[in-house]
Structure formats: C-alpha cells, structure tokens
C-alpha cells in the first residue's frame, strides 16, 4: 500500500477583494507519497503558491480538506498547528525569508529554539547543517552579507533543523542565476534521495523537470495533468533533441 503523506480533497481557496471574489484554487485533489519529489508547475498566477500555503498550513482553504500524515489539518488546535510547522515541515521561499537580525547560524537555530532543544545540542546541529549546505565558513554572517545562493542555502539548512518529513519549496530558484539555481536544485534533490525527505516544490524552472518523480501541472487553480518520471524523460529528450 502506498504511503500517502499529503492528500488534498477538493481544496478551494477564494480571495475576497472588495466585492470581487477570486477563485485561486478551484477544487484540487492530489495525493503525494512519502519520499517523492513533486514539482507543481504552472504559469505565474496559476495558484502554485496558494496551494503551497494550503499544504504547509500557512493559510486555510475556503473549502475542502488537507490531510498530512493522515491528520485532517482543519481539526488541529493553534498549538498543534505551530508544532506541525515547527517539526513536520521545512519551508523554502523564493525570497529566502531569512530573519535579517539573526546570523546564518541564528536563523538555523531558531526553529530548534521553538522546539525546545537545549542550547548546546542546537548549536551543534546548526553547525552540522550549515556544513552540509556548504556554508561552514560563513556561519556567523548576517543574511545581508551573503549572496542570493548562500541565503537560499541558509534557508535550506533552516528548513531541515527539526528533521521534517516534508520540505516545501516555493520557487526556490526564481531569484537565482542558472548555475546557482542548478546547485540549489541539486542540493534539494540530494536531501530527497539521501534523507528520504518528501519534497514538494512549486516552480516554473524547467531545470526541476529531470529531478522530479512527478510533475503536477496547475492551471487556473486546477490540476491540468499529472506526469510521471518516465513521461518526463521522453519530453526532456525531445526538448534536448530539438536543439540539434
């Protein structure tokens, strides 16, 4: 039996702006298996970030249910939601969202402070994670003193602080150049394969295609189609072939 980590049931999200109602998600049904690398693809404004927010419990759906590890998210208390964000999910954003008053190290320790991990232990873990993402020599720099790629590495280290089972990434490469973006994708992929973390990434970066197990195409708040690994390979091949 497949081990489903994330399941959405007819998720609808409407934004009210004055008298207008904008239906950003129009009934999304997806199931994501543990250990998968899933890319949510779609043009800008198609609803990727909105879906990202629903899966990550960063906002509530207008209708429908989100289940994580079999738990109905709408039935959790405030404290459970906070604990869920703290322990179960690591978030990576397009604009990094580092706390600019805390060093790289301070950003990575913060989720562990919220988790109540003793100081010595969390300091060691932060050092270890920053080493892992290749920032061992810049641990005590403030985010403002780091490049975009380095900031995203800090964000990745921070996302991993409490050993989440899911990493959610919203266009993690959109603010980076091609080479840096590639490095970030490889890093995230490595977490997926080496540590078995489920990765759900919103993107319109085609570099993400060949690391994804499945691609969910989103258009106008609906799942347009779901492509598997083997179908993707063929398409990537075709794209590659056209160039010659």
């Amino acid at each position: 039996m497949a081990d489903i980590v994330v399941k959405t049931e007819d998720v609808v999200k409407e934004y009210r702006m004055g008298s207008n109602i904008l239906r950003a998600l129009d009934g999304i049904n997806i199931e994501i298996e543990r250990g998968e690398y899933i890319s949510l693809m779609g043009p800008s404004g198609s609803g990727k970030s909105t879906l990202f927010n629903m899966i990550g419990a960063l906002d509530r759906p207008t209708e429908g249910q989100v289940y994580i590890d079999g738990q109905n998210m709408s039935q959790l208390s405030q404290r459970q939601i906070a604990a869920f964000r703290c322990h179960r999910v690591g978030y990576i954003f397009q604009s990094y969202n580092l706390l600019h008053v805390r060093s790289a190290h301070g950003n990575v320790t913060l989720p562990m402070i919220f988790a109540g991990i003793p100081e010595k232990q969390r300091n060691e873990k932060a050092e270890q994670l920053l080493d892992l993402v290749g920032l061992g020599d810049r641990m005590y720099h403030l985010p403002d003193e780091l490049s975009g790629g380095q900031r995203q590495r800090v964000a990745i280290a921070r996302a991993l602080a409490n050993d989440p089972s899911i990493v959610l990434a919203d266009e993690p490469t959109a603010n980076l150049d091609t080479i840096t973006g590639r490095e970030i994708i490889d890093l995230i992929k490595r977490l997926n394969t080496d540590q078995g973390v489920t990765v759900i990434s919103a993107t319109h970066d085609l570099k993400m295609l060949d690391v994804s197990d499945r691609i969910v195409d989103i258009r106008d708040g609906l799942v347009e189609r779901v492509r598997n690994r083997d179908e993707i390979d063929i398409e990537v091949g075709e794209v590659g072939g056209e160039g010659h």
């Binding site: 081990d3 543990r34 927010n53 990550g56 960063l58 906002d59 509530r60 590890d69 079999g70 738990q71 959790l76 208390s77 405030q78 404290r79 459970q80 906070a82 604990a83 869920f84 964000r85 703290c86 322990h87 179960r88 978030y91 954003f93 969202n97 580092l98 706390l99 600019h100 008053v101 805390r102 301070g106 913060l110 989720p111 402070i113 919220f114 988790a115 109540g116 403030l142 921070r158 409490n162 089972s165």
Partner: protein
C-alpha cells in the same frame, strides 16, 4: 520515523529565550531601534517640559515673588491657567499620537518577520511577548531620556524667567499649598512621564503585533513595506 504519530502541542518558550531573542533583535537593528526610541523620547520630552514648566511657574507664583507674578499676567486667579491646561493637553496628544505612530511603523515593517517566525513554529503569544519586551525596553529608556531632557529644558526656561530663585523654590517633591490644590512636583512628573511613555510604547506595539500574529503566516508574509 514520525510516521502517523499524532501531532503534538507546541511548547511555550522559556522567558529567558524570549528575552534573548528580543535583545538580539534590538541590538542588530540598533539604528532603527534608536529612531523608534527617539520618537518616544521626543513625545515625552515635550510633555514633561510643558508640565514641569507649569509646576515651576506655580511654585514660584506661590512663593510670592514679584517677577513670578509678572510672568503670570494672563493668569486670572492663582492656579493653572486655561492656556497651560491647553498646552498640557496638546502635548499629551502629540505624545500619544507620536509614540503610537512610531511603534505602529516599527511593527508594520516587521510583518514578514512575524509570518516567518510563525512558519518556524512560533506561537501567536510568543510573537506578542517579543514585541512587548522590545517595546517595553524601548519605551522605558526612551521615556526616561525624554523626561530628563524635558526637565532640563523646563529648568533652563525657569532660569531665564526667575533667575537663581528657581532653585530656592524648586518644586521637586509633591506639595499641598494652603489653597488645598495638589502640586505633583518634578520627580512625580518625571516618573509619570516614564510610565506613560512605557505604557504607550507597549500598547502601540503589542496591539498591531497581536493583530499581525493572528494573521495566517501566508498573509503576514505577503505584506511589502
């Protein structure tokens, strides 16, 4: 593997951790903290100078000094004139609005930070406590400096009006002259100024922080300033 284990309840942060985080935040954004604190300092300095000036005027007027009476030509009777009341009320309003505004700005530009902290597992109460601590500290230090500056200003003005007699009749302590009215005295005015500045700063910051903390993180992080 934490598979299918029920989701636990988030713990409260020890007070010391909150204190450390808030001080670190004040330290790193020192420049910005100083500007916010300066807003408090100005408001309280204005209020305390007007108030102390008034206390000095009344005290010297009661001492029966000739020059004092001359300065109080507009005074209809003994006691606080309408003009002085108006001045104090005005300075109080300026002080309230100024501090509320500077705290509100300081919180608004940190909505994204609030949303991010909630993504990392912060409880709403922690966010509010963080801002309470930061603004309480800023409020107290800003108001204390403001009260001292205000007093100094009032003393200089008093020296110009009354000369060295000022120190002889200086209304440092609370007093109750024969007419039965109550004089607060400068020390109490300074104290009240400090308390007022701190309360205004704390309310002015924790109320918007509380509203931001209640927002879903997605919404808090959308705010661009």
């Amino acid at each position: 593997m934490q598979q299918r284990t029920p989701i636990e309840e988030q713990i409260d942060l020890p007070f010391v951790e909150s204190l450390r985080i808030s001080f670190q935040s004040l330290k790193i954004r020192f420049g910005r903290s100083i500007i916010t604190t300066a807003g408090i300092t100005l408001g309280i300095a204005f209020l305390v100078s007007v108030w102390t000036n008034n206390e000095i005027g009344l005290a010297l007027q009661e001492s029966g000094r000739q020059s004092a009476i001359n300065t109080f030509e507009e005074t209809t009777e003994k006691g606080i004139s309408t003009k002085d009341i108006w001045l104090i009320v005005m300075s109080l309003i300026v002080c309230v609005v100024g501090i509320a505004n500077s705290m509100l700005m300081a919180v608004t530009e940190r909505f994204r930070e609030i949303g991010t902290m909630k993504c990392l597992g912060a409880l709403d109460g922690f966010v509010v406590r963080l801002f309470l601590l930061e603004s309480g500290f800023q409020g107290f230090s800003g108001a204390l400096i403001g009260a001292l500056i205000g007093t100094l200003g009032a003393v200089l003005l008093g020296l110009k009006d009354y000369g060295l007699d000022l120190f002889f009749y200086f209304p440092l302590l609370p007093a109750q002259p024969e007419d039965g009215t109550m004089r607060l005295g400068v020390i109490v005015v300074i104290l009240l100024g400090c308390i007022l500045g701190m309360i205004l700063a704390v309310i002015g910051s924790s109320f918007p922080a509380w509203r931001a903390a209640k927002l879903p993180p997605a919404e808090a992080m959308r705010t661009e300033v």
